[in-house]
Symmetry: none
Protein backbone atom coordinates (compact mmCIF):
# COMPACT_ATOMS: atom_id res chain seq x y z
CA UNK A 1 0.00 0.00 0.00
CA UNK A 2 3.09 2.24 0.23
CA UNK A 3 2.96 5.74 1.64
CA UNK A 4 -0.13 6.96 -0.13
CA UNK A 5 -2.78 6.07 2.32
CA UNK A 6 -2.93 5.21 5.95
CA UNK A 7 -5.83 3.87 8.00
CA UNK A 8 -5.93 4.53 11.74
CA UNK A 9 -8.59 3.64 14.25
CA UNK A 10 -9.59 6.72 16.26
CA UNK A 11 -12.38 6.19 18.78
CA UNK A 12 -15.12 4.50 16.79
CA UNK A 13 -13.99 5.69 13.41
CA UNK A 14 -11.37 4.85 10.82
CA UNK A 15 -9.25 7.79 9.78
CA UNK A 16 -8.12 7.48 6.17
CA UNK A 17 -5.61 10.00 4.83
CA UNK A 18 -5.60 10.28 1.08
CA UNK A 19 -2.40 11.50 -0.50
CA UNK A 20 -2.40 13.49 -3.68
CA UNK A 21 -0.56 11.00 -5.83
CA UNK A 22 -2.96 8.13 -5.27
CA UNK A 23 -3.15 5.67 -8.16
CA UNK A 24 -5.76 3.30 -9.48
CA UNK A 25 -4.22 0.16 -8.04
CA UNK A 26 -3.66 1.76 -4.65
CA UNK A 27 -7.32 2.74 -4.53
CA UNK A 28 -8.41 -0.81 -5.22
CA UNK A 29 -6.19 -1.98 -2.34
CA UNK A 30 -7.59 0.78 -0.14
CA UNK A 31 -11.21 -0.13 -0.92
CA UNK A 32 -10.44 -3.70 -0.06
CA UNK A 33 -8.59 -2.98 3.18
CA UNK A 34 -11.07 -0.35 4.31
CA UNK A 35 -14.13 -2.50 3.69
CA UNK A 36 -12.61 -5.37 5.68
CA UNK A 37 -11.63 -3.13 8.55
CA UNK A 38 -15.08 -1.46 8.73
CA UNK A 39 -16.63 -4.88 8.90
CA UNK A 40 -14.17 -6.44 11.36
CA UNK A 41 -13.66 -3.51 13.72
CA UNK A 42 -17.33 -2.62 13.75
CA UNK A 43 -16.73 1.10 13.35
CA UNK A 44 -19.42 3.72 13.13
CA UNK A 45 -17.70 6.07 10.79
CA UNK A 46 -14.99 6.68 8.27
CA UNK A 47 -13.16 10.01 8.24
CA UNK A 48 -11.50 10.79 4.93
CA UNK A 49 -8.77 13.36 5.38
CA UNK A 50 -8.21 15.08 2.06
CA UNK A 51 -6.19 18.06 3.30
CA UNK A 52 -3.23 16.82 1.24
CA UNK A 53 -5.23 17.32 -1.93
CA UNK A 54 -4.69 20.72 -3.48
CA UNK A 55 -6.56 19.92 -6.65
CA UNK A 56 -9.00 17.20 -7.61
CA UNK A 57 -10.16 15.66 -10.83
CA UNK A 58 -12.95 13.25 -11.68
CA UNK A 59 -10.75 10.30 -10.69
CA UNK A 60 -10.21 11.55 -7.14
CA UNK A 61 -13.84 12.67 -6.91
CA UNK A 62 -14.95 9.19 -7.89
CA UNK A 63 -12.57 7.65 -5.37
CA UNK A 64 -14.12 9.70 -2.56
CA UNK A 65 -17.64 8.89 -3.75
CA UNK A 66 -16.86 5.17 -3.99
CA UNK A 67 -15.24 4.98 -0.54
CA UNK A 68 -18.29 6.76 0.89
CA UNK A 69 -20.62 4.39 -0.96
CA UNK A 70 -18.82 1.30 0.33
CA UNK A 71 -18.83 2.69 3.88
CA UNK A 72 -22.56 3.43 3.77
CA UNK A 73 -23.36 -0.06 2.54
CA UNK A 74 -21.38 -1.38 5.52
CA UNK A 75 -23.29 0.94 7.89
CA UNK A 76 -20.58 3.49 8.54
CA UNK A 77 -20.99 7.21 7.95
CA UNK A 78 -18.37 9.03 5.93
CA UNK A 79 -17.04 12.42 6.92
CA UNK A 80 -14.69 14.34 4.70
CA UNK A 81 -12.31 16.65 6.53
CA UNK A 82 -9.72 19.16 5.37
CA UNK A 83 -11.40 20.09 2.11
CA UNK A 84 -9.86 23.18 0.55
CA UNK A 85 -12.16 25.79 -0.97
CA UNK A 86 -10.78 25.25 -4.47
CA UNK A 87 -11.42 21.52 -4.16
CA UNK A 88 -15.06 22.12 -3.24
CA UNK A 89 -15.52 24.43 -6.21
CA UNK A 90 -13.94 21.95 -8.62
CA UNK A 91 -15.95 19.00 -7.35
CA UNK A 92 -19.22 20.89 -7.82
CA UNK A 93 -18.18 22.12 -11.26
CA UNK A 94 -17.50 18.50 -12.18
CA UNK A 95 -21.03 17.71 -11.00
CA UNK A 96 -19.71 15.65 -8.07
CA UNK A 97 -21.81 16.73 -5.11
CA UNK A 98 -20.78 13.71 -2.98
CA UNK A 99 -24.27 13.14 -1.56
CA UNK A 100 -23.10 10.15 0.48
CA UNK A 101 -20.60 12.16 2.49
CA UNK A 102 -20.84 14.68 5.27
CA UNK A 103 -18.24 17.33 5.68
CA UNK A 104 -16.62 18.35 8.92
CA UNK A 105 -14.11 21.07 9.61
CA UNK A 106 -11.68 18.77 11.36
CA UNK A 107 -11.24 15.29 12.74
CA UNK A 108 -12.37 16.58 16.14
CA UNK A 109 -15.64 17.87 14.68
CA UNK A 110 -16.23 14.63 12.79
CA UNK A 111 -15.64 12.52 15.90
CA UNK A 112 -17.94 14.66 18.01
CA UNK A 113 -20.68 14.32 15.39
CA UNK A 114 -20.14 10.56 15.30
CA UNK A 115 -20.40 10.41 19.10
CA UNK A 116 -23.76 12.13 18.92
CA UNK A 117 -25.02 9.96 16.04
CA UNK B 1 -17.09 41.63 -8.76
CA UNK B 2 -19.12 44.80 -9.63
CA UNK B 3 -22.56 45.43 -8.27
CA UNK B 4 -24.12 42.06 -8.98
CA UNK B 5 -23.38 40.24 -5.83
CA UNK B 6 -22.46 41.17 -2.32
CA UNK B 7 -21.36 38.97 0.54
CA UNK B 8 -21.96 40.11 4.12
CA UNK B 9 -21.26 38.33 7.36
CA UNK B 10 -24.40 38.27 9.53
CA UNK B 11 -24.06 36.42 12.82
CA UNK B 12 -22.62 33.03 11.86
CA UNK B 13 -23.77 33.14 8.23
CA UNK B 14 -22.73 34.72 4.97
CA UNK B 15 -25.52 36.63 3.26
CA UNK B 16 -25.17 36.52 -0.52
CA UNK B 17 -27.47 38.66 -2.63
CA UNK B 18 -27.82 37.51 -6.20
CA UNK B 19 -28.77 40.15 -8.73
CA UNK B 20 -30.80 39.30 -11.78
CA UNK B 21 -28.18 40.12 -14.38
CA UNK B 22 -25.52 37.79 -13.02
CA UNK B 23 -23.08 36.52 -15.64
CA UNK B 24 -20.93 33.44 -16.03
CA UNK B 25 -17.66 35.12 -15.07
CA UNK B 26 -19.22 36.85 -12.08
CA UNK B 27 -20.47 33.52 -10.84
CA UNK B 28 -17.02 31.97 -11.08
CA UNK B 29 -15.66 34.89 -9.01
CA UNK B 30 -18.50 34.47 -6.54
CA UNK B 31 -17.88 30.73 -6.14
CA UNK B 32 -14.26 31.42 -5.49
CA UNK B 33 -14.79 34.26 -3.00
CA UNK B 34 -17.61 32.49 -1.21
CA UNK B 35 -15.73 29.22 -0.81
CA UNK B 36 -12.71 31.00 0.66
CA UNK B 37 -14.83 33.03 3.06
CA UNK B 38 -16.78 29.97 4.26
CA UNK B 39 -13.51 28.24 4.95
CA UNK B 40 -11.72 31.19 6.56
CA UNK B 41 -14.56 32.69 8.58
CA UNK B 42 -15.76 29.31 9.74
CA UNK B 43 -19.42 30.11 9.14
CA UNK B 44 -22.27 27.73 9.73
CA UNK B 45 -24.50 28.81 6.94
CA UNK B 46 -24.93 30.64 3.68
CA UNK B 47 -28.08 32.61 3.02
CA UNK B 48 -28.76 33.20 -0.68
CA UNK B 49 -31.07 36.15 -1.13
CA UNK B 50 -32.77 35.76 -4.50
CA UNK B 51 -35.53 38.34 -3.99
CA UNK B 52 -34.07 40.37 -6.86
CA UNK B 53 -34.77 37.51 -9.25
CA UNK B 54 -38.12 37.88 -10.99
CA UNK B 55 -37.54 35.05 -13.39
CA UNK B 56 -35.08 32.17 -13.44
CA UNK B 57 -33.69 29.91 -16.10
CA UNK B 58 -31.55 26.79 -15.99
CA UNK B 59 -28.40 28.92 -15.70
CA UNK B 60 -29.56 30.67 -12.54
CA UNK B 61 -30.96 27.41 -11.18
CA UNK B 62 -27.60 25.76 -11.72
CA UNK B 63 -25.86 28.70 -10.05
CA UNK B 64 -28.00 28.27 -6.94
CA UNK B 65 -27.46 24.51 -6.95
CA UNK B 66 -23.69 24.90 -7.32
CA UNK B 67 -23.36 27.51 -4.58
CA UNK B 68 -25.37 25.23 -2.29
CA UNK B 69 -23.23 22.24 -3.26
CA UNK B 70 -19.98 24.08 -2.55
CA UNK B 71 -21.31 25.29 0.80
CA UNK B 72 -22.35 21.82 1.84
CA UNK B 73 -18.97 20.37 0.92
CA UNK B 74 -17.43 23.03 3.17
CA UNK B 75 -19.82 22.18 6.00
CA UNK B 76 -22.19 25.14 5.75
CA UNK B 77 -25.93 24.89 5.26
CA UNK B 78 -27.56 26.88 2.49
CA UNK B 79 -30.81 28.74 2.96
CA UNK B 80 -32.55 30.41 0.06
CA UNK B 81 -34.61 33.43 1.03
CA UNK B 82 -36.88 35.75 -0.92
CA UNK B 83 -37.99 33.23 -3.51
CA UNK B 84 -40.95 34.50 -5.50
CA UNK B 85 -43.79 32.09 -6.23
CA UNK B 86 -43.19 32.29 -9.98
CA UNK B 87 -39.53 31.42 -9.43
CA UNK B 88 -40.46 28.34 -7.40
CA UNK B 89 -42.87 27.23 -10.13
CA UNK B 90 -40.28 27.69 -12.86
CA UNK B 91 -37.52 25.88 -10.96
CA UNK B 92 -39.75 22.86 -10.43
CA UNK B 93 -40.89 22.93 -14.05
CA UNK B 94 -37.25 22.90 -15.06
CA UNK B 95 -36.77 19.85 -12.84
CA UNK B 96 -34.50 21.78 -10.46
CA UNK B 97 -35.69 20.84 -7.02
CA UNK B 98 -32.54 22.18 -5.30
CA UNK B 99 -32.15 19.27 -2.89
CA UNK B 100 -29.06 20.79 -1.26
CA UNK B 101 -30.85 23.94 -0.14
CA UNK B 102 -33.35 24.80 2.54
CA UNK B 103 -35.77 27.61 2.06
CA UNK B 104 -36.62 30.25 4.65
CA UNK B 105 -39.15 33.05 4.45
CA UNK B 106 -36.65 35.71 5.36
CA UNK B 107 -33.13 36.29 6.57
CA UNK B 108 -34.46 36.42 10.14
CA UNK B 109 -36.01 32.97 9.79
CA UNK B 110 -32.85 31.55 8.23
CA UNK B 111 -30.65 32.96 11.02
CA UNK B 112 -32.92 31.61 13.72
CA UNK B 113 -32.83 28.16 12.12
CA UNK B 114 -29.05 28.34 11.91
CA UNK B 115 -28.85 29.34 15.58
CA UNK B 116 -30.82 26.23 16.49
CA UNK B 117 -28.78 23.93 14.22
Amino acid sequence: MSGITSIHLVENALLVSIHDDVTDTEIIDLQDTLSHRISEENVRGVVLDISALEIVDTFVGRVIAQLAGISRLLDAETYVVGMRPAVAVTLVELGMYLPETKTALSLTHALSQLRRA
